[in-house]
């Protein structure tokens, strides 16, 4: 069982008390316990079991405008005494920074709603094994599948965030995650793909058969890929890739990138950065949401933000430090976004495929090719050639490149949004990107 609230609160208040006694003018502490149990299968047999029990604590101490922090996994009071003493010593020796401070008192979250983020259900390893047997049977049904690796993880976490302003709160969360990675082979090629499902509640998890079938089918259809020539062409990002465009957008509007001047979206609030119909929301209070939270990692309340309204950027993602630097109030985004998504577009997936006589449907990208300083984008990709709305053949060993400033203005979204991850996008069409191939 994960440690209860009382245990975590006792540790937190011990740290705050000691920090104060040693001379901290302010301090904040987070104590967290996370227990994960995983079972892995490979080729229909048990391959690995893994249990992890992580208890950790991180404390930040302030002396006036000086600040330092420590973290440790050793929560014995003996050790905490040494570390907090060290932290105070380091704080004294660290130069002042006028923007260092705890959040303004009026911004702390006051009520903690039950967002339905914790499922009491405990799934024993033998139940995980039953699920994985079913999943792997479905995944390896076709003889083109030569290798399967599947995994089932149950995670239970609990945390307490407390600070010297009197904020002290936390709550339990759970997740159940199943995944399947399959390898398919024919005379010409060997390809890999995957499918995945992660939910707060066990009963919401995808059916094992369905997951296995999807993983296998997505892999088999990639066999015998071709390489295409270099050209300008319309790109369609599968949902699992399209969400990455949204993640890049989120990094580029983080207040730290903005205050440091290292983002291509600096000074773009109230300007049109996306095409007309695009709306982006960050909604922390979705029930059972994979990114849901009651407050951010500083304890600041989080309201739903419409980040982009009809293509116009409305907010940055602001934490206390960078907010003070930018002369803006924190909007509870220390630690990033919660449930971030593009609102549905108004055409169907099928119509999206049909909107150009020829396009590329991208199912996987590799490489770290997003530069948020310049907006330049260049990644390796695999996917399919689409002609007249039909999947023609798989393609690989190509790159796609552009600049986010242009790409954002050329986005068309389908109406097939689902909440599979914390960050979600409908299928996305971007006109006119450069593909390099042969």
């Amino acid at each position: 069982m994960v440690k209860d609230q009382e245990f975590l609160e006792t540790k937190a208040s011990y740290c705050l008390g000691l920090a104060k006694k040693l001379g901290a003018t302010d301090s904040s502490v987070i104590v967290k316990n996370s227990i994960s149990e995983t079972v892995n299968f490979r080729n229909k047999k048990l391959d690995e079991s893994n249990r992890s029990d992580d208890l950790g604590l991180s404390i930040t101490t302030y002396i006036g405008k000086k600040k330092s922090s420590i973290s440790s996994s050793n929560l014995l009071n003996d050790n905490l005494n040494i570390l907090i003493e060290k932290c105070i010593e380091t704080t004294k020796n660290t130069p002042e920074d006028e923007f260092n401070s705890l959040p303004d008192r009026d911004l702390f979250a006051k009520e903690v709603k039950d967002l339905n983020l914790y499922d009491e259900t405990h799934i024993e390893n033998n139940q995980k094994i039953d699920y994985l047997k079913k999943l792997e049977a479905a995944a390896s049904n076709d003889k083109k599948i030569v290798n399967t690796e599947s995994s089932f993880t149950q995670n239970k976490s609990n945390f307490v965030l407390a600070n010297s302003e009197g904020f002290c709160d936390g709550y339990k969360t759970s997740s159940f995650t199943a995944s399947s990675v399959t390898v398919a082979k024919d005379e010409k090629s060997m390809e890999r793909d995957y499918e995945y499902s992660s939910k707060c509640f066990l009963k919401d998890l995808d059916d094992a058969d369905e997951l296995g079938n999807l993983a296998a089918n997505q892999t088999i259809r990639k066999l015998s890929p071709k390489k295409i020539g270099s050209e300008k062409i319309a790109i369609i990002f599968d949902k699992r890739i399209a969400k990455g465009v949204l993640s890049t957008f989120a990094s580029a509007i983080s207040s730290s990138a903005i205050s440091r001047g290292t983002s291509f979206l600096k000074d773009k609030v109230n300007q049109k950065i996306f095409s007309d119909k695009i709306n982006v929301f960050d909604k922390p209070d979705m029930l059972k949401g994979l990114g849901s939270r009651n407050f951010d990692s500083e304890g600041v309340k989080t309201d739903t933000l419409k980040l982009v309204d009809q293509g116009i950027l409305k907010h940055y993602l602001i934490d206390t430090y960078n907010g003070k630097k930018l002369n803006l109030k924190s909007n509870g985004r220390c630690g990033g976004t919660s449930n971030l998504y593009f609102e549905n577009g108004n055409i169907s997936f099928k119509d999206l495929l049909n909107s150009n006589s020829k396009s590329l449907y991208i199912t996987e990208t590799i490489g770290h090719g997003s530069n948020i300083v310049t907006g330049d984008y260049s990644v390796g990709a695999t996917g399919f050639l689409i002609e007249n709305g039909e999947f023609k053949y798989p393609i690989n060993e190509i790159t796609i490149a552009g600049n986010f400033k242009d790409m954002f203005q050329n986005i068309t979204l389908a109406n097939d949004l689902e909440f599979k991850y914390a960050t979600n996008s409908p299928t996305m069409l971007i006109e006119e990107m450069v593909v390099a191939g042969k």
Binding site: D47, S73, T399, K438
Partner: protein, 470 residues
């Protein structure tokens, strides 16, 4: 060295008996104990943004029967938590039985000193250097708009206790110093990043103001990029500079030669042992034994002494990199490549310092041999799809080559290639092998470990360059 049982309610003897009892019917396994101390000091935007210290203690208990691995880890080194882990392992492995396989080669060699780099330099000294770095770079002109510099220091003590009480231990220092600078001219912004590091004291990198050369390099890269033009798109010849660009070797072939992917037959190399996989003259080794290098290890995380493993010799595939599990199942031997990020993770076969050895040609000859292509000097990160063999990496400093001459700098572009065939496209191997500056971290299955790379300049006949200019 850490005494892991000093403040615990379980004595070393009791721990040994729990280990022997748990592993008695298993093929392999061990108790891995780790105590690490690390610090991070960051200067950003003219200020010391962060000074933090982390102390981490825990164990990972592993039992292996045939192909099945059971693992359990915890922060608490106590009788109760060891017994709980033991029960957990036994419950997974209850239906399998194996014979215990036990043999670790002995070695007295050490590749770094038993030091704690964090304590060797005071916080004030480190803060002073970071402030000096900031002042130095900002004195280089108005175009410098942002400077980030940081120190990362670590001391990790590990102990491996095997069934029967055999104990192996290691104390590993690691430091890294990094500088990132953003410049702006006529509204255009570009960044340059450079860093140094390894398994020794900060002073090995920072004495006599030699940090200035790190700053100069970061600024040089940023300034070059200010003048860069859009990169070309399509297939062309590529000359790679020496040193850090060897992450191409790491991505393109290194991962594909790790034992696990080959045992599972998911690597594009799994059926190519003894065959020609690279041009003649291409020799690639993975070496854990170079003094003070970031990727070096005295023993790996299973206790096996590291070694210099020849992967490809003169174009022929010779060896995979192995940990104990994969070596046993492939009827091979451990190459001392069993590594883990920390006690929270299981051991995987990983790279250490992956190096392509020098050939005979000069870089000039290579440039001259290219009519139309690019010259790539530095890279950001890379990634590989083990199964299809396709890999990418991102240029952070590159130039076009026109008619045998180096031309304008080009914007960061992704290069994509095919791992199993790329080394056959190497047509010249330079005489200028260089190690990287000591900054690499390799990610695999969610675990990051420090690694090194090295290579001479090489000419690749054909790669796809992912620019925007058709």
């Amino acid at each position: 060295m850490s005494n892991f049982f000093e403040k615990s309610d379980v004595s070393r003897k009791e721990a040994e008996s729990i280990i022997s009892d748990t592993l008695q019917k298993c093929d392999d396994g061990e108790l891995y104990l780790e105590n690490s101390k690390s610090e991070s000091i960051l200067l950003d935007d003219n200020k010391i943004k962060n000074s933090s210290y982390n102390s981490d203690l825990g164990f990972g208990f592993r039992a292996i029967s045939d192909e099945v691995v059971a693992y359990s880890h915890s922060n608490e080194i106590s009788k109760n938590s060891l017994k709980q882990s033991s029960e957990n392992l036994k419950s997974t492995l209850k239906s399998v039985k194996g014979t215990y396989n036990h043999e670790i080669p002995k070695s007295n060699k050490k590749y770094y000193d038993n030091i704690n780099p964090i304590e060797q330099k005071s916080l004030n000294e480190k803060i002073k250097i970071l402030n000096d770095v900031n002042d130095y770079l900002r004195s280089k002109g108005d175009k410098v708009k942002q400077v980030t510099a940081n120190f990362l220091g670590e001391q990790k003590s590990v102990e491996i206790i095997r069934s029967g009480g055999e104990t192996l231990s290691d104390v590993r220092p690691l430091v890294r110093f990094n500088v990132s600078v953003m410049v702006e001219k006529d509204g255009r912004k570009e960044t340059g990043v450079y860093g140094v590091g390894g398994r020794q004291s900060y002073d090995s990198y920072l004495k006599d103001e030699n940090w200035k050369s790190v700053c100069d390099e970061a600024l040089r890269i940023a300034s070059v990029n200010l003048e860069s033009k859009p990169a070309p798109a399509g297939e062309m010849k590529v000359v790679l500079g020496p040193g850090w660009p060897a992450i191409l070797i790491h991505e393109a072939v290194g991962h594909g030669l790790e034992g696990d992917f080959n045992r599972k037959k998911t690597s594009a190399f799994h059926n190519l042992m003894g065959q020609k996989v690279a041009s003649e003259g291409v020799t690639i080794i993975d070496d854990g034994t170079i003094d003070n290098r970031r990727g070096s290890l005295t023993i790996d995380d299973e206790g096996t002494p590291t070694e210099k493993t020849v992967l490809i010799e003169n174009g022929i595939l010779k060896n995979f990199m192995q940990d104990r599990l994969n070596a046993r199942l492939m009827k091979s031997r451990s190459t001392g490549s069993g590594r883990r990020e920390n006690y929270r993770h299981i051991v995987l076969p990983r790279m250490r310092n992956t190096m392509m050895l020098s050939g005979k040609q000069t870089q000039e000859e290579m440039i001259k041999a290219v009519d139309k292509g690019i010259f790539a000097v530095s890279f950001g990160g890379g990634q590989v799809d083990i199964t299809s063999g396709k890999f990418v990496f991102n240029c952070t400093e590159a130039y076009e080559i026109v008619n045998g001459k180096i031309g304008s700098p080009i914007k960061g572009a992704t290069l994509i290639g095919d791992g199993p065939s790329i080394l056959k496209e190497v047509s010249m191997v330079g005489n200028d092998m260089m190690m990287d500056p000591g900054i690499g971290t390799c990610g695999k299955a969610g675990q990051g470990v420090p690694v090194g790379v090295a290579q001479p300049s090489i000419l690749i006949n054909k790669m796809t360059v992912g620019g925007t200019k058709l």
